[in-house]
């Protein structure tokens, strides 16, 4: 199968080749930037003792959400046997795998000592379980990765052999993955929520808001990807599927907005010292305003997308839908990325306001990791589409079939 899919991956249209070459080039740039960072240490990034997490952890946080979103498609398809979603699901799970690998890459990029990362491997290292939320996170992310690789692999492999996948095998797995996806969200939110030192994060709404925003951003990305796939391959995705996913996006985005309002109300109706971070994020403090353009891009985009998508007519219009999904995705990336991480550190524990500005190296590594994710996803998607379309099948069987014919 691997050999076949390798063969299949390396062949494709011209656009496909250009796309892959483009991604490879960015990955190489990313690797070069990472080598600089390895050489100089994390001082090559914009992070300091005052703002000690930046772009890497922001992207990590956001991508955990994207990874978990695949589950919104898994549930109806496998469990309720809603054939409609089946095509979207394989894509969704491929997306989850790519997003998880990106998450792990971002974590590694953020480490000060990547050469001693084995200290984290249970069995040979020392794991601070159950005290440390980061230890939990490592476990749940890897577990989720495992589940999301095995289920589609099983299904695809059966299809590859030309058989139907057994429900009794994959249904328990899918149910587990549904629960697990909620788990990775919550654990990642708890990572921040549990810190009494940072009032901006120490907020009970953080976890639920994580879920809502991820269930908007993830499926929005899936819609965009399905649109691209529909355009460039013969893989048939029905409009019905896309409509259903769009429904998920809308509901999640609406809940997300409600929670945003609730958060803003709490921070600004009766501001305390603990609201300073929110002030910094939305209005700037003492003339330090680095995040203003970002958050004031994110909020209107978020609202605009949610409002537009709420109207059935507009949502049914593919152009509006794709546009909204795109701006929603960007808005949530800003909001749940550095709109969430950076203000947690500003002002510092004693009120010092030191701003954070990512360096070129940091941006390079980040782009490189995104390119890696896109690369992995393209390969996974191409293989699964190939199998699903029946282009990629177990050879012997084909021969037998041709003989019989």
């Amino acid at each position: 199968m691997v050999k076949d899919s390798l063969g299949y991956i390396t062949h494709g249209s011209k656009t496909y080749h250009i796309w892959m070459i483009f991604l490879t080039a960015i990955m190489l740039i990313g690797m070069y930037c990472y080598s600089i960072q390895l050489e100089e240490g994390l001082s090559a990034t914009g992070m300091t003792d005052r703002v000690s997490w930046g772009l890497y952890i922001s992207n990590f946080t956001f991508l955990v959400g994207v990874a978990a979103a695949a589950v919104m498609l898994v549930m109806p398809t496998y469990v309720l046997n809603d054939i409609d979603f089946k095509h979207a699901v394989l894509i969704g799970e491929g997306l989850a795998v790519a997003a998880l690998l990106m998450c792990l890459a971002f974590v590694v990029a953020d480490m000060g000592g990547p050469s001693v990362l084995w200290h984290m491997i249970p069995g040979i290292g020392v794991f601070n379980f159950p005290n440390s939320m980061l230890a939990w996170d490592v476990i749940v992310l890897n577990g989720y990765l495992f589940i999301n690789i095995t289920i589609p692999l099983y299904i695809l492999f059966r299809h590859y052999q030309g058989k139907e996948a057994k429900r009794s095998v994959y249904i328990p797995g899918s149910i587990l993955s549904v629960l697990w996806a909620v788990g990775i969200h919550l654990v990642t939110a708890f990572l921040y929520e549990g810190l009494q030192a940072r009032p901006f994060w120490n907020n009970a709404l953080l976890g639920p808001r994580f879920l809502a925003s991820a269930f908007a951003a993830g499926p929005a990305l899936i819609i965009l990807v399905l649109a691209v796939i529909r355009k460039f391959t013969e893989f048939n995705i029905e409009q019905k599927t896309i409509n259903k996913i769009a429904m998920i996006v809308v509901v999640a985005a609406q809940i997300n907005l409600i929670m945003l309002v609730s958060e803003l109300f709490k921070e600004f109706y009766a501001p305390t010292h603990h609201s300073e971070s929110a002030y910094y994020l939305f209005f700037g403090l003492e003339g330090k305003t680095a995040l203003l353009p970002w958050i004031w891009t994110a909020i209107p985009l978020n609202v605009l997308a949610t409002v537009l998508l709420t109207f059935h007519k507009l949502r049914r219009n593919p152009k509006v839908l794709y546009f909204c999904c795109f701006i929603l995705f960007v808005a949530i990336w800003i909001e749940k990325g550095f709109g969430l991480i950076v203000p947690g550190f500003i002002p510092g524990p004693y009120g010092t306001i030191a701003e954070y500005r990512p360096t070129g190296v940091e941006i390079g590594v980040t782009l490189g990791i995104w390119a890696m994710g896109a690369f992995i996803f393209t390969m996974l998607a191409k293989t699964s589409i190939g199998i699903e379309l029946g282009k990629l099948r177990y050879r012997k069987k084909e021969k037998l079939a041709s003989k019989a014919a």
């Binding site: 994390l42 001082s43 000690s52 997490w53 000060g112 601070n128 004693y350």
Partner: protein
């Protein structure tokens, strides 16, 4: 006053024998005050001797290794770490350390260096090491320094003494902002000179406005004491229920029996989660390779204290563990020309710090967070 009961009537030794007994003054037994729970797990671990622990760990590990086939490859009984070490050794032939150790031209010294580097790379967590392992790593570090810099250092690994709990008090009325403590600290603890890392921050605040940390200047370069200002120092407060310890994913940082919160620099993976969790800006990170001019290196070192760090690891104030465990005051206390800094054993009823706690109106920062810092402020 909860803290009074806690620090004046509490015998931690007693507490250790009967871990369920609650001697915290908050009146709760459920642990809601945040001072019951955290120490107990670490105590349980310490209660087990290091050898017992290793045996236990090895026992489970050998069982597991049987399954995964390391045995067939190497045909020796080994725990996972050894197996991992050997496996990587065979995989990473390209690694510099191996190359030099195999090279014929390389002299004895570089071979030894490579050997040391190799063993250092794969040593365990200091907290869980046996006494022999601890001695061995200290020897290796001393030897490595000798080989590289042709200088001798003295490195101790003194353990916590019984019936000692270190605490600190800071007299706000006395401090004039001279920052002699800061420079003494930098010199004593071999902090990176390039990034000008400082464990202590002195906050300059305006008279008559109270403790307004957000308006204070912790990075001033003018003559002190400045008219109409007062000064307040912060550093790691060695919390008794330290949030930084709970969050570390690999247990690279922990609370010692004498209350010091320490870091194993070689076990830290540099994730900086502890830094996000510290409410007191107590931690510092080595963003690049720390550099100290050879003639300025303090050669009197402690494994958990001021030994040389590498890039990408966390560090912080240790109450000068190399000094305090040798019966001396930390460098900042010694250097302060005004006598604003007081250090001592909280369990010794005759210590100065106990006197201060008993006779001054003391307070701590952010007590509402439940971290129980062992660092008090007071005024004359």
């Amino acid at each position: 006053m909860s803290e009074k009961k806690k620090w004046f009537t509490l015998d931690l030794g007693f507490n250790k024998k009967v871990p369920t007994a609650s001697s915290c003054g908050c009146g709760k037994t459920s642990g809601g005050c945040g001072s019951h729970e955290a120490p107990s797990p670490s105590k349980n671990e310490h209660a087990m001797t290091a050898e017992e622990f290793d045996k236990a760990v090895e026992g489970t590990m050998v069982d597991e290794t049987r399954k995964d086939g390391f045995q067939q490859v190497f045909d020796v009984k080994m725990d996972r770490r050894t197996a991992f070490r050997k496996l990587t050794a065979s995989l990473l032939v390209g690694a510099g350390a191996v190359q030099t150790s195999c090279s014929v031209i390389a002299g004895e010294e570089s071979k030894e260096k490579a050997q040391i580097d190799w063993e250092e790379q794969f040593k365990g967590n200091y907290k869980l090491m046996t006494q022999e392992e601890r001695d061995a790593t200290v020897d290796r570090l001393v030897r490595s320094y000798q080989l590289r810099k042709k200088e001798n250092i003295k490195m101790s690994a003194t353990d916590a003494s019984k019936d000692v709990l270190f605490g600190y008090a800071f007299n706000i009325s006395k401090c004039q902002g001279y920052m002699d403590c800061v420079s003494a600290c930098v010199e004593e603890n071999n902090q990176d000179r390039n990034s000008q890392m400082q464990y202590i921050r002195i906050h300059e605040m305006k008279d008559g406005e109270g403790f307004k940390f957000n308006e204070a200047d912790d990075n001033y370069y003018h003559e002190v004491p400045a008219e109409g200002h007062f000064y307040m120092g912060t550093q790691c407060f060695h919390c008794d229920d330290p949030p930084c310890v709970d969050v570390c994913p690999v247990q690279a940082t922990w609370r010692e029996e004498d209350g010091l919160v320490v870091i194993d620099y070689d076990w830290c993976i540099g994730c900086r989660y502890c830094m996000a969790a510290c409410p007191y800006d107590g931690r510092r990170f080595n963003w690049s390779k720390p550099e100290v001019p050879e003639e300025e290196v303090n050669k009197n070192q402690h494994y958990l204290g001021n030994r040389m760090r590498k890039k990408g690891v966390m560090e912080k104030c240790t109450f000068c563990i190399q000094r305090s465990r040798a019966g001396k005051d930390p460098a900042c206390v010694e250097a302060c020309p005004t006598g604003a800094r007081i250090f001592g054993n909280l369990l010794d009823p005759d210590s100065t710090i106990r006197w201060v706690l008993a006779n001054k109106k003391v307070f701590r920062l952010k007590e509402d967070l439940g971290t129980e810092p062992k660092f008090w402020y007071f005024m004359d």
